[in-house]
Symmetry: C2
Subunit: 192 residues, 2 copies
């Protein structure tokens, strides 16, 4: 998606060869106009799949998922929680997710009552590196018996391999920008 790639080149900051900071528009400050365009692009790709729910994980995926859901006839958004709240009951699907940017393993949870075999879901997230979050959500969808229509990612770090592994497994993964390499000095190379 040219608009996103342009924004990454203009505002993204590469640290070393594996960290891409895009917190001016994606995951700390959020550019809602850009999020709308990304939501429309996801809709164009997945509109015929009968999607009634968007699954994501806290925190950065939530805003994008809510904006995108509007184009899917206000599909419900369900987000995996990383910490247990006093108000969260015990009847949850769980999966382990390794967060590359934080260097920790999180247990993510989705209450059983919000996901079932009657749901057709789109998994959506801002970033994909090794694919930890997507794999965690896939595990939860499988536990619930929900149908996974596809996986929608804003920025995939292609060189970390998580995306291609999911494609090999047959998932319909659509990333709006795939970074095949990056370097503080040499810049960012997108996959065609």
């Amino acid at each position: 998606m040219d608009l996103l790639k342009k924004k990454i080149l203009e505002e993204g900051k590469v640290i070393g060869t594996d960290i891409l900071k895009v917190d001016s528009f994606l995951n700390h400050q959020i550019d809602v106009g850009l999020a709308q365009e990304m939501g429309k692009a996801f809709y164009e790709r997945f509109k015929d799949r009968g999607i009634n729910k968007i699954l994501t994980v806290e925190s950065s995926g939530i805003g994008l998922s809510c904006i995108a859901a509007q184009y899917f006839n206000n599909a419900k958004v369900v987000f995996g929680k990383k910490n247990k709240a006093k108000t969260q009951d015990n009847s949850c699907y769980e999966a382990e997710v390794y967060s590359y940017t934080r260097g920790v393993i999180n247990q993510i949870r989705i209450a059983k009552k919000y996901l079932s075999k009657d749901d057709t879901v789109l998994i959506l997230d801002d970033f994909m590196a090794m694919g930890g979050a997507a794999n965690g959500l896939l595990s939860i969808a499988e536990q619930a018996g929900a149908k996974v229509a596809g996986i929608a990612i804003c920025i995939e770090k292609g060189f970390q391999g998580g995306g291609d592994k999911l494609r090999e497994q047959g998932y319909d993964l659509y990333s709006l920008a795939i970074v095949d390499s990056m370097d503080e000095n040499k810049g960012i190379v997108f996959r065609d």
Copy 2:
């Protein structure tokens, strides 16, 4: 706001006398159609204030803030982060926030470059109890020299006092539903 109060009465679950679970539509599963109506209501109240940014904290506030921002001419959303990511630099405003539902104190951080004296902000969150999150964001806005146009809350637990304290301090706090008392057996009483 009648639509929200109706939804709380239909789907909310009171636990004891101080916990209100609304995770079927507000903070685990998100009803995006309802979020749009809440966003419009916030816009009606605050539309003439020159708001260019919406401030919230992760996680539950993010989706609502992104939906609401659309009505404020796609104001940027900036959310306070609770954990430090590898990709987060050190130049941040910080404040301490006590989370009533989790029973922990979080340090929230907003990067200095995303908030300044040129900003007029709306502070937005899903819940207000003691007012911890709002006070943390107010502190950060003050540190940045940003103007606070108002505070927008979906559900205020009026009996916990945080909202009325902020009103006494002169803040324009607008809550779409104020719960003045609740009880597992006697139900929920809204403030008129």
